[in-house]
Symmetry: D2
Subunit: 338 residues, 4 copies
């Protein structure tokens, strides 16, 4: 692939937009050429806009790129969308009509029957839904989505078990990082030395999206979502009951060996890693596994009520957002849909 595919980031000033910029730096297939944000930001260079919150500097060529408004035409084939849900619905649709492939992290089109909601390792074949979109048929434009951050992390841990043993019931209690709430997000006054027992809409999203991804709702799922003072990294405490009898060895084997390597630039060597020290996984130490694309599984043990209990951890803005969309774009490209 000598010529890299030109791409744009929609919502480039937000937390997910910034992560797109970081992950696209030196990407072997995609070249970030255009930045789009609201009228308020348009016209400024990215450096002038002054929104950067990443621990590494703004890539130099991006810093000097002028931010475009949603009205301006774009040259890029693929648009990575980190748009806010309150505008993503309409804007992404418009871009698709103009012939762009929108790879979106926004929730708006996720449940549309003709929109792929994919995690390539799990339901990659659903990418073919793209061909059903009217825009794709007319001008090659369309929309591809990834699930909500907590859903992706949960789904990656559930899928091998579901595939091998079937699932009957899944209870999940999350401890979610603040970066998932965007910027400015949660005031320090609300979260310093504190936790919040509720994240609006999150439990509903987790429960409905997981069914669409697996293509079934023949098991029950119950979630409770908490916000904790952690920068990046969602932890999820899971109890589950399998449909077929399952053993600890069988479970560990399924978790470690179910996923084939996709051989895409953003796919990790291990989709899941099992940790045996009971003090793991923890955000501070296990978040960077697989450059943020590996989900860590720990504390695997029997549950006195359902069958098994364990705790998982994933990077919410990489595996759960920008990295997820990037992997979707790579998957779409490798499947000849671009």
């Amino acid at each position: 692939m000598n010529q890299r595919i030109p791409v744009a980031v929609l919502g480039c000033t937000g937390m997910v937009g910034q992560k797109f910029i970081t992950l696209l730096e030196n990407h072997p297939w995609f070249e970030l050429k255009e930045l789009v944000a609201s009228e308020r930001s348009a016209g400024k260079t990215y450096r002038e806009r002054g929104c950067w919150k990443q621990p590494t500097p703004i890539p130099e060529h991006i810093a000097n790129t002028r931010i475009q408004s949603p009205q301006e035409p774009l040259q890029s084939r693929i648009l990575f969308s980190g748009l806010d849900a309150n505008i993503a619905g309409e804007l992404e649709e418009q871009y698709a009509q103009r012939g762009h492939l929108v790879v979106s992290n926004a929730r708006n089109h996720r449940m549309r029957p003709d929109v792929p909601l994919i995690i390539p390792e799990i339901n990659g074949s659903q990418i073919e839904l793209l061909r059903k979109q009217t825009t794709y048929q007319h001008n090659g434009g369309g929309i591809v989505t990834n699930p909500n951050c907590s859903t992706i992390i949960l789904a990656l841990a559930l899928y091998p078990i579901w595939q091998q043993f079937g699932l009957q019931r899944v209870m999940a209690t999350t401890l979610q990082a603040i970066s998932g709430a965007g910027y400015p997000g949660i005031p320090t006054l609300d979260l310093l030395g504190n936790t919040l027992p509720y994240i609006a809409g999150e439990e509903e999203k987790m429960e409905s999206e997981i069914y669409k991804i697996l293509g079934t709702n023949n098991f029950k799922i119950s979630t409770t979502c908490n916000r904790v003072p952690v920068l990046d990294g969602h932890s999820i405490c899971i109890s589950l009951q399998t449909q077929q009898p399952s053993t600890l060895e069988g479970l560990m084997h399924a978790l470690e060996h179910s996923y084939a390597d996709l051989n895409l630039p953003s796919s990790p060597a291990q989709v899941l890693q099992i940790l045996t020290d009971p003090y793991h996984p923890q955000p501070r130490m296990d978040l960077q596994a697989g450059h943020g694309m590996t989900v860590s599984v720990g504390r695997l043990r029997t549950c006195p009520i359902l069958d098994w209990k364990f705790t998982i951890l994933g990077h919410n803005t990489i595996r759960g957002a920008a990295g997820a969309a990037l992997l979707n774009a790579e998957w779409m490209t490798s499947n000849g849909l671009v």
Copy 2:
């Protein structure tokens, strides 16, 4: 009660010991006269010892009290024990043999058949077990215990439901504060902007103690304990299934109206309070309810797997430790056992 009962604090330098000192200040029934700690602290005044970590100053008369070693004889009738588990077992036994009533927060004697493990609002009548202790029969000495901090908070929320509807299954996932780990406890390097998925021994204690308190093990309980960067206040996310059919109204009524007021100095006006704002309970705002003796209940809703889900919060070093022992001593006193 014109003459206050002289009391001592064992393990006076630790976090629970400090909380005993704070709560005993101006207590109407008990007068803190003696302080006991290890050889390393003995001989110093409490101020010289330099261990104080409370946000209010050391009470003046305590600051100048000389710390005694465990070898020295004590005058006090009641000894509040905040001793570490590695020494509490033997020392508490010795004090009982010397004729003292040890009201202990340590775990060592909790499961002994002749030792009351009580939460007065729930199983206060078990205080009569004290009469079975050989020491109590001989010289009036004995040991009374309260459960582990998470267990107390959980038990207070479960009891009205268990009493009214019976329980079949209880899943509990905790977000626990650092003060429960004592001092120095958890290094900042391990918990700043982080969470830990494991607390050694905690899940076992919660599961076994709850059965002893309720006097039955005919329901199943499964717990997962996490440590979060919160100073004080354990949150617990609960899903449960009742034995009898239950309604939301019935559940709320049980939670709000089951507990009679004990009319003891440390008993709160409300043992449980129900909060309807979904962002509550949270440690920063709801911890001080009932001077730390009220447990808050929020997010009450149906569970797709078991029957009900809700989140509770209690003060781990007050309702879950020093305040619990103090209430036990008040209960013991009002029952004529002192």
Copy 3:
């Protein structure tokens, strides 16, 4: 004072407004009767408004009080203003013209020559400036202000030294709490495990207000303001040079004995307290001294460049804001100006 004076809180939904409500609960002289906030809040009861961020519950009678808009006439004689600076200037002026005494924490009128900018222990006599205000002469209305939070805390530590030895140079570096930034204030993403080296406008305010309070600018002051992840409590590291020769004993004597007790409901037993443990003062442990009205002084030692170095700590929303205004109102009342 059999009949308590009716008072109102302007900007009742903000952080300072909430602190006013907390401190006015059970006040012996003042009775909180009216609440005022913007149009957006007006008409709702205080509980419905849902802004409460204090660790204690909303006082019951306040919870059910209807919030009034700035257009509605008020019955209260004294209005405590926690208004935002962008509206305080005009609104406070209007209330004065309507005959109310506005005791304000806002910065807008602080530097006006006819407006008292007072800390009663330091320049209480300046309260007489009130008589020069046209409104006060016409209808008894007027404006009284307290300095910025950091300025108050700094001024209380400097004043005894300035009075006793004179001052030549003062270098001050602050570590300021987040509550000073109001709500929502600083995003968790900006401050969790982080510090910020700048607080807009703060250094200028500290440098100019201190001169007005002391009525002189014949010494030099240089400040650097940092934001740190602390909920309440501003720490200030000070180096200073006195005009007259000074000794450590003389300095300590001045700090401990300069302030007379004002005998007002909100004045603390000790305006300053000296701590000798080098690990103090610290926000977590020393903030509540004097119910938040005492400033703590620690680490007093010689400075290799100027004469003396020490670190102080004060409660920014009590001594530095709501408590400061309340003390001003008490002072004004006891001086027969109400």
Copy 4:
């Protein structure tokens, strides 16, 4: 350099030891072959020891390396010492007598006249002191040290100014990260939502070491050291007076252009970077500059008392500890002393 030089890490289980392991991974000149820790750790593989606190996994070949005790002979030419000060004095001396070059981060030998205390960019020529060490003359063994973390960061910002304009007075107030206190270091109970106004011994070290590095004590320095809840990154608020007249432009030019590139594997492209956004430098965003080897300078402005004020930030365990020692070893190697 086809053959990499074999090196060992002394005190391999501590925080600095772990950082040495991280930085030596894939080092072009040095190959980490041996690990040394106390008797308690000796005999275990590094993975078994279970001390790892870094956000990246233990390098695989290190994880399986057996930890050696200080008694065992070492093959490595260079030993990186992250030993605790209570044992470093004697042990480092012993290793030097056995012919090893100890490149130490410990404070014990820093002030010895024949021991280089160096920051290569500032006083690299002092490396020649090594030749005066008796052990070096006999068997090539010796000791080379780097300053304390805060001192290095401060010295790097002061040196260009001192060199260009001379210095008369330097006031420095620090906000220091917890990683500087080692592990377990500071309990969460002491630092969550809190700051500490004192770091034992730190102010003395900063004041004395800076004189040795610059080879003069003809200016005055006064420091105040605070601990803040930040994981990595020391911030220092500086006010200073130059000997010669200085301008803002001159100062900025000196800061940006004084340092030549050493062209060593660990030397950064920029030793200092100047940031103009007043909200920078801050640990969360600027710490990784130059892979942790660049010191950031911000808030440069005039001081009403001395001449200039600014705030600097440096990575305390990289530029201030392990990276400093590694750079010293590279410098020593490139100067033909190994």
